[in-house]
């Protein structure tokens, strides 16, 4: 917490207004009845009172539900392909929760790996992620079981912590530190402020009671992979909707479609879900026609395949999939029920 700063709550709107000069500022809003990141309206900071997390994860700002990759038009010589107009505006997202901030690190690796994805990476480069430490986690949160926690700073440029009348402000990344250092609205935080933040964070961490042992989940999943009866049982109540994947901060599957009329239009990509029976139907049939295989894939991708490739669990413990699932399918219960390695048949 060295060099931490603070801002009085009544001055937060002023600070965001200042930032609005250089950045398009986004902040939590429930203007249409659903908590989401939206263009900040220039005054409302009431989210400090009601906001726990958004329904749509922060990934939707970088990998939007649907986007145009290029447009296709016709001229005398044939077809013309044009990239979307270049956007150079910086974007500052205020209030990102630690789980969602961590999801960006997990996604960055994917979109930089085999090839560089210009769409995603360009938005990432232009963005400042301002985190907001969790003080009131939900009963479905289990971030502390996956290398994170209500005060984790991974993936953030700056982190804010609500300490009562003030917000404690800490620069995390180089970009974030610069932004904080040169700001006149921010005052130096006292040792009392820092101690208060420490207490609040400890209390938040204690509130997280949903805990699972993820130490050997990769090995246990590997061992149970072929056990159809286990997966049949685990998947029985799932209805194969897209809720737990489309709204998961770390799921990144997309589909590509042409939206054309009369030979003109655009090529778009949109989020897809491995839970759908129609997944990958475009190039071929779905290799996972059975529901149990799809449920297995969702879990194994996060806790087995991704960890094998990138040495990190691709789940942030945000709990959205538990809260929003129509049938209350609970990933933590399923992970808990994985047989220990030696019990498995293989």
């Amino acid at each position: 917490m060295a060099d931490s700063k603070k801002v009085r709550k009544e001055d937060l709107a002023g600070l965001l207004t200042e930032w609005s000069r250089d950045y398009a500022v986004l902040a939590p809003s429930r203007a249409d009845g659903v908590a989401r990141m939206a263009a900040w309206d220039g005054e409302d900071i009431s989210f400090l009172d009601w906001y726990r997390n958004t329904i749509n994860p922060v990934k939707s700002l970088f990998l939007p539900p649907v986007e145009e990759m290029f447009s296709i038009s016709r001229n005398e010589r044939g077809h013309r392909i044009e990239l979307p107009p270049k956007d150079d505006t910086g974007c500052l997202v205020f209030g990102v929760r630690p789980c969602d901030a961590r999801s960006l690190i997990l996604l960055d690796v994917v979109f930089e790996d085999a090839y560089e994805d210009p769409y995603y990476l360009d938005r990432r480069r232009r963005s400042i992620v301002v985190g907001l430490c969790c003080t009131n986690p939900c009963d479905s949160c289990f971030c502390t079981s996956v290398d994170s926690g209500p005060a984790a700073t991974a993936g953030m440029d700056i982190m804010f912590t609500d300490i009562g009348d003030n917000l404690l402000v800490e620069g995390i990344s180089r970009k974030g530190k610069e932004l904080v250092a040169g700001n006149a609205t921010l005052a130096k935080a006292t040792r009392t402020d820092e101690n208060r933040a420490r207490k609040i964070r400890l209390a938040a961490e204690k509130k997280i009671t949903r805990k699972i042992d993820t130490g050997d989940s990769k090995e246990r999943l590997l061992a149970v992979f072929e056990d159809e009866s286990f997966w049949q049982q685990v998947s029985a109540k799932c209805v194969s909707c897209g809720v737990c994947t489309l709204l998961c901060p770390t799921c990144y599957c997309f589909d590509i479609n042409d939206a054309m009329t009369g030979g003109e239009g655009s090529r778009c990509r949109s989020l897809d879900s491995c839970a759908f029976s129609s997944y990958t139907k475009m190039p071929m049939e779905n290799p996972r026609a059975d529901k149990w295989r799809r449920v297995r894939n969702k879990l194994c991708h996060k806790y087995e395949f991704y960890p094998m490739l990138f040495d990190n669990i691709a789940c942030t413990g945000c709990g959205r999939c538990i809260r929003l699932c129509p049938v209350n399918w609970d990933i933590t219960q399923v992970l808990d029920s994985l047989p220990a390695k030696h019990e498995s048949k293989i």
């Binding site: 249409d32 009845g33 659903v34 989401r36 726990r52 329904i55 749509n56 539900p65 649907v66 939900c138 009963d139 479905s140 029985a236 109540k237 209805v239 194969s240 909707c241 897209g242 809720v243 489309l246 709204l247 589909d255 479609n257 939206a259 778009c268 949109s270 989020l271 879900s273 759908f276 029976s277 129609s278 139907k281 475009m282 538990i322 809260r323 929003l324 129509p326 049938v327 209350n328 399918w329 609970d330 933590t332 219960q333």
Partner: protein, 326 residues
Amino acid sequence: MSYSAAKNSQMQKKLRQEAKALLEQGKVDCIIGYEPGSLKHATTPLITKDKAATERLVINPFIVNNLSNFLPYTKGRIGIVAKGCDSRSIVSLIQDNKVKREDLFILGVPCSGLIDVSKVEALVGKYRDEIDDISRQGDIITVKVGAAKKEFSLSQVMFDNCLACELPTPAEYDVLLGEPTSPIGAAAESAGKLDELKAMTAAQRWAFWQNEFRRCTRCYACRNVCPACYCKRCFVDETEPQWLAPMPQEPDNLMFQIIRNLHVSGRCTDCGECERTCPVNIPLRALTRDMYDIVDELFEFKSGMDTKTQPLLTAYEVDEAEDLVK
């Protein structure tokens, strides 16, 4: 019969006994019911062949899922727990040849209505997990948050479709787990979205829906929880020809829902599942209930009320709805 926790637990006891006996005697291959969920004030479907698991079965004011949705995908003989609305969906599925009556053992729950936790959240200004207790005695719902205690009426906290429910006690069942209940009949007392929309001009309504569907994620939870949506190949998944863009965008999102609503007309039982499960709170019931009322008005038909009435789309009388096409 007025609701009491004691009567409810009697029903639950009876359910556990019946379900266990059904499995033990080999009368069914599996049981579909509810067990406590992993979130507060929630339940989750229990689909099991294990007779010991029947001890986990519950009946309470939070048994929201319409379990008939699982029937077309479940093999063998099934013992299924059904509230009034669920039983109507079951009847509709039987009539559509999606499941055979003789393969079912219906454990009927005389329903007193379900509590819409999101309404409670709004009333007390707290989230689901911050609310310590929600209980019902008679027609009073008591909500406890810490030391504070508040009381609400049924019309304030029950699901809109429960307030409008016409058949709380299943008409089709093999065993009825308690004494028949009567409809709450308080639809008029709750400020439902439908009334609000009916007061608008057509242009305002159109603008309203366009705005609502802008946030649709195309997760298809509305379709996948709907017992009437059982098509193996849904029109929206067709690629040759492609009826709608498979991307979450307008106007395709709204078109998807309008077509879905037309497809389930005459089979929708107003169970409310589509609206409840929509992760972005689109008030879908304002569409489905309106269609339900239109079907009733034009054809005097309500789906799944009994096994004898022919399903709407298979029956035709020469003089019916003459003014339908103008």
